[in-house]
Symmetry: C2
Subunit: 116 residues, 2 copies
């Protein structure tokens, strides 16, 4: 139990799970999709110590093209994340808005990196 | 001058410049490339208040495929960044190792997002 804090998670970079999600969204549903995603990310980062970040960007020239940098403290943190009510609300609510989804397992060059 | 601190930069998310860089590296040069990139990122984040993050990942299945999430406090911070000695050392040192480079201007869904 003592280990289950965000601070100590962040000091075990070897256990981190890092992924890029690349999505293409139905243009007619983009505003609704973005609201679902924003709500899901804010809840995940607030409620789950093991969700270290979900940094989502849209391309300026193609706003329907979204990339999310996902960093979890561990594989276990990710497995827990995908059972949460806020994740399931997002996943079920947006399934008809997502035209394509690519999940790319990745390694961080500098796992200790933060955002100032 | 008072405004030129990392803390206050970070509180002006509207001015941020966000970009994805997607690179493919010559596989025979990958280790050397990664050392150049690591050194450049560490110097940039340490020395430049306006470089908010440079989060680099390689794909597990294709380690020559690198994505960098770049967040600068402003366009001006980026323009300054590309004149620094550490950036120029990286750029000149790796120019024959980079097989392709795609720079994608982006918008953050939640500009205040951090990494725990």
């Amino acid at each position: 139990m003592f280990l289950a804090t965000a601070g100590l998670f962040a000091q075990e970079p070897d256990k981190q799970m890092v992924r890029l999600a690349r999505l293409v969204i139905d243009s007619t549903e983009l505003d609704r999709y973005n609201e679902f995603l924003r709500e899901e990310i804010e809840a995940s980062v607030r409620l789950e110590p093991g969700v270290l970040t979900l940094y989502a960007v849209s391309e300026k020239d193609r706003p329907t093209h979204i990339t999310i940098l996902e960093i979890y403290a561990s594989e276990e943190a990710y497995q827990k994340h995908i059972t949460t009510p806020h994740f399931l609300k997002y996943k079920n609510g947006t399934k008809d808005m997502v035209k394509s989804l690519e999940l790319i397992d990745a390694r961080a060059l500098i796992p200790e990196m933060k955002i100032k």
